[in-house]
Symmetry: C2
Subunit: 405 residues, 2 copies
C-alpha cells in the first residue's frame, strides 16, 4: 500500500500526500532521524505532540544491534519501537562508507563538512591500519564498531534485512562517495550502485508482499553528466520513489546545483527524498527545487550542544550557554507552543546545560523538532497558495540578502 | 504557612497531611531528589503524571551553580525550575562532608555503603592531598568541584542561601559523620551541630516572613546515648519538623535501631524526615517506626544502569540488560499504569540501554518513581485501615521471611 498524490505546485515546489500502510505523510516533510530505533532523547508521546509524521531509522545500526532477526521475531520495527506512523529504513550505505572511504578523507556529505556530520564516523579509529570497509562487485564488507566482527552487505541482503525490519519505505544499498573522490572513481562507484539497484529491485519484486515501497538512490557526486546519467538510469528502473544520495559537492551552491541536474530526470509522480539536509536555508532551497522528503540529524545534534532553532536569530540559532541568557526568564521563542517553551525559561534551560542534566537534551530536541514541523506546515500551505517565495522572504531576509535575487 | 495534621496511626506508623504554601503533601511520602534543580532525566509533566507530591533540591549544588543570587533574582526556585508543588532544600551538609571526611573512609551513610551512594563523592579526587573540607566552630570550608574555588558555609549563611532559594521547607546545616568516626569525634561533631542548629534557628526566627518552615537535624551516629541526647536537644529547640541525618550505622539493623532510639524523643505533632532511604524493605521498616518523609536518589540512580523496580522480583528489581529480556514483549510490570509500561516492551527497553540511548534513562526513572508513588499510596491507605502489617506481608513475604516475625 503506497501511493503519492500531488496536490499543488508552486514553481518546482510540490505539495503532496504520501499514503503508506501506517498512515499519510503530507509533503514536503522533514523526517526526524531515529538511527537506532529511537529519535534521540524523545519519547513516542513527544513525537505525537510535536506532530512528527514519519521517522527514518537505520538498517545498518539495527542489523548490528539488536539484529533484524530479533526485530522480525517480535513483530517488526513498528511493534518493536512502538512507533505506529509511517517509517523509513535507510540502507546504511552512507554509514558504511562515511565510516570507511569518506573517513579517510576526513569529510562527510559535502566538504567542508557541516559540524553536525563531523562525528558520524566517531565509532571508528582513524588510526586503524586495516581498511574498515572493502567494496567489491558483490557488495561491501565492513567491521562492526561494536565488537570488531566482520559483516557483508549485498543489495539482496539489505532488501532481506529491510523486509525483516518491516518499514513502510525502504532504501536500496548504494555506494556513497566523498567530495574528494575524483571523477573516475565517482563514476565507477555510481555504475556499481546502478548494478546494485537493479539487483535489489529484482529481488524486491520477486519477494514483495506489497506492504513495502522501495526507493532507488541517485549517485554521481557533484558531476553534472554523472548525476544526469544516474537519475536517468535509476528512474528507468521504475522504483516507487527516488532518493538523492552521496556527495553533494563542496558548498551549498554545489548542492543546490546537484539537485537542479538531478530532479528534471526524476518522474513527477513519484516522491523524492534528499538524504541529510536540515538547515533552515537549505530546506527552502531544496523544497523550491522539488524535494518532497528530507531527513537530518541536525535538530537532535544541535540539541546535544544546547543549540535551539529560533526564527529571528543569526543562522536561526540560539546557543543557550551564552551568558546573556543566565537570568532570562523568557522562553526560547516567544509565542512558541512547544512543550519546552510553554514550561521552561532560557535561564533554567541554560542551567540544565551547564549542570549537564540530560533533561536538557530532550527539551532542546522537542523545541527543534517542533520548530521544523511548524516550518514545514507553513511551507506546505504556502505552496498550496503559491506563496512560497513570499514565505521565504519573510523568513530569510532578516538574516541575509534576498535569496530570490 | 506550614501545618501538619495527623490523620491516622497504625502502631508507630502515621498517616498525615503536611500543608505548605505550594500545596499539600500526604504522608508518609517518598521525596524524589532533584539535586541540581531537576529530578534526573524527567520533566515537570512526567512528575505530574507520576503524581509526585514534593521534591528535594540541594542548596550546596545550587549555590555552586547557578548561585542563589541568580535564583532569587528570577523569583526563587519554584519560578526558576517551574516546579509548582511543595519543595524542600537540603542544606548540603551531607554533600560537603561525604565529599570530605567520609570520603577519607570511603563510605557513605551506612557502611558497607549502598551502591547508589558510592558515587556521591565522585567529583572529588581521592588522591587530592589537601583536605577538601575543613570544619571549625564557625562553619565549614570546602573546595568547589566545579572550579576549585574556596567556599565557606555557616549555619547563618545557609539559612540565607535557602531563604534566597525560597523553598517551602529548609534544612539546617549539620556536620555529617561517617560510620567509621569513633564515639568521641561523633559526639564532638554532634555538639557542634547542636550549636549550629541553635544559631540557624535564631537567625531564621529573626528574618522569617512565615513563608518557609525549618527542620532541625538529629545527629549522633549509631550511638544510643548520642542519638537520644541529640533528639532531645534538637526537639527542645522547637523546629517546624525534624530530620534524621548522619551515619545510620553499619547495617540495616543498626539503621532501624537508630530510628527506634531517636523517634520517641521527637514531638508527635511534627513531621519527621529521614535523609537518604529508598529501598522497598527499608520503606516499610522506616514507616513502621514513624517516619513521615524520606528522600533517596535510588530510583533515578537505578535508572541509569537499567534497573527497574518490580514487585515480584528478587530484591524488587529487574536488570533489563539481562539477556532473558531480549525478545520479551511484555511491559516491565504487567498491569503497571506508568507511561513506560503502557508504551514500551522489555525487549525495546533493553535495546535502548544496550544502544546507550538516553531516552532509556527517562523511561526507567518514570517507572521507578511511579512504582514508589504507588507503593506510598498503598502504605497511606493501609495505615488508615490499620492494615500496614498485612500490606507488608503481601509485599515482602515472596522475597523474604516474615518481616514481623
Amino acid at each position: 500500500m503506497f501511493s503519492f498524490d500531488l496536490l499543488a505546485r508552486d514553481g518546482e515546489a510540490r505539495a503532496g500526500k504520501l499514503l503508506t500502510r501506517h498512515g499519510t505523510i503530507e509533503t514536503p516533510s522533514f523526517v526526524p532521524v531515529g538511527t537506532q530505533g529511537a529519535v534521540k532523547s524523545v519519547s513516542l508521546r513527544d513525537l505525537h505532540v510535536i506532530g512528527t509524521q514519519v521517522i527514518i531509522v537505520n538498517s545498518y545500526h539495527l542489523h548490528l544491534q539488536p539484529g533484524e532477526d530479533l526485530i522480525e521475531r517480535v513483530g517488526g520495527v513498528h511493534r518493536f519501537t512502538g512507533w505506529e506512523g509511517p517509517l523509513i529504513t535507510d540502507s546504511g550505505g552512507f554509514q558504511i562508507f562515511s565510516l570507511g572511504v569518506a573517513k579517510e578523507h576526513g569529510v562527510g556529505k559535502i566538504a567542508p563538512i557541516f559540524p553536525e556530520q563531523r562525528d558520524r564516523g566517531r565509532h571508528f579509529s582513524s588510526k586503524s591500519e586495516k581498511p574498515l570497509v572493502r567494496v567489491d562487485e558483490d557488495g561491501v564488507e565492513f567491521i562492526s564498531y561494536l565488537d570488531g566482527s566482520a559483516h557483508r552487505f549485498t543489495p539482496e541482503g539489505i532488501v532481506d534485512i529491510e523486509r525483516k525490519l518491516g518499514a513502510d519505505i525502504i532504501l536500496v544499498l548504494d555506494e556513497c562517495t566523498s567530495p574528494f573522490h575524483d571523477y573516475y572513481y565517482t563514476r565507477e562507484a555510481m555504475e556499481r550502485t546502478h548494478r546494485w539497484a537493479t539487483r535489489a529491485l529484482e529481488v524486491f519484486r520477486h519477494t514483495s508482499d506489497s506492504t513495502q515501497a522501495i526507493l532507488g538512490i541517485v549517485q554521481g557526486g557533484a558531476y553534472r553528466d554523472l548525476r544526469e546519467g544516474s537519475a536517468r538510469f535509476i528512474a528507468g528502473l521504475g522504483f516507487d520513489g527516488y532518493a538523492i544520495g552521496g556527495s553533494l559537492g563542496r558548498s551549498k551552491k554545489e548542492m543546490y546545483q546537484v539537485l537542479e541536474w538531478t530532479i528534471p530526470f526524476l518522474p513527477h509522480d513519484k516522491p523524492r527524498h534528499l538524504l541529510g539536509v536540515g538547515e533552515i536555508e537549505d530546506i527552502f532551497q531544496v523544497v523550491r527545487r522539488g524535494v518532497d522528503l528530507f531527513d537530518c540529524i541536525l535538530p537532535t545534534r544541535m540539541a546535544q550542544t544546547g543549540t535551539f532553532f529560533a526564527k529571528k536569530e543569526d543562522r536561526f540559532r540560539i546557543h543557550i550557554l551564552n551568558a546573556r541568557f543566565k537570568d532570562d526568564l523568557r522562553p526560547i521563542e516567544l509565542g512558541c507552543n512547544c512543550y519546552t517553551c510553554r514550561n521552561y525559561s532560557r535561564a533554567y534551560l541554560r542551567h540544565l546545560f551547564m549542570a549537564k542534566e540530560i533533561l536538557a537534551m530532550r527539551l532542546a530536541t522537542i523545541h527543534n523538532l517542533h520548530f521544523l514541523e511548524l516550518l514545514m506546515r507553513q511551507i506546505r500551505s504556502a505552496i498550496k497558495q503559491r506563496r512560497l517565495a513570499e514565505l521565504w522572504r519573510e523568513w530569510v531576509i532578516p538574516n541575509d540578502a534576498d535569496p530570490y535575487a
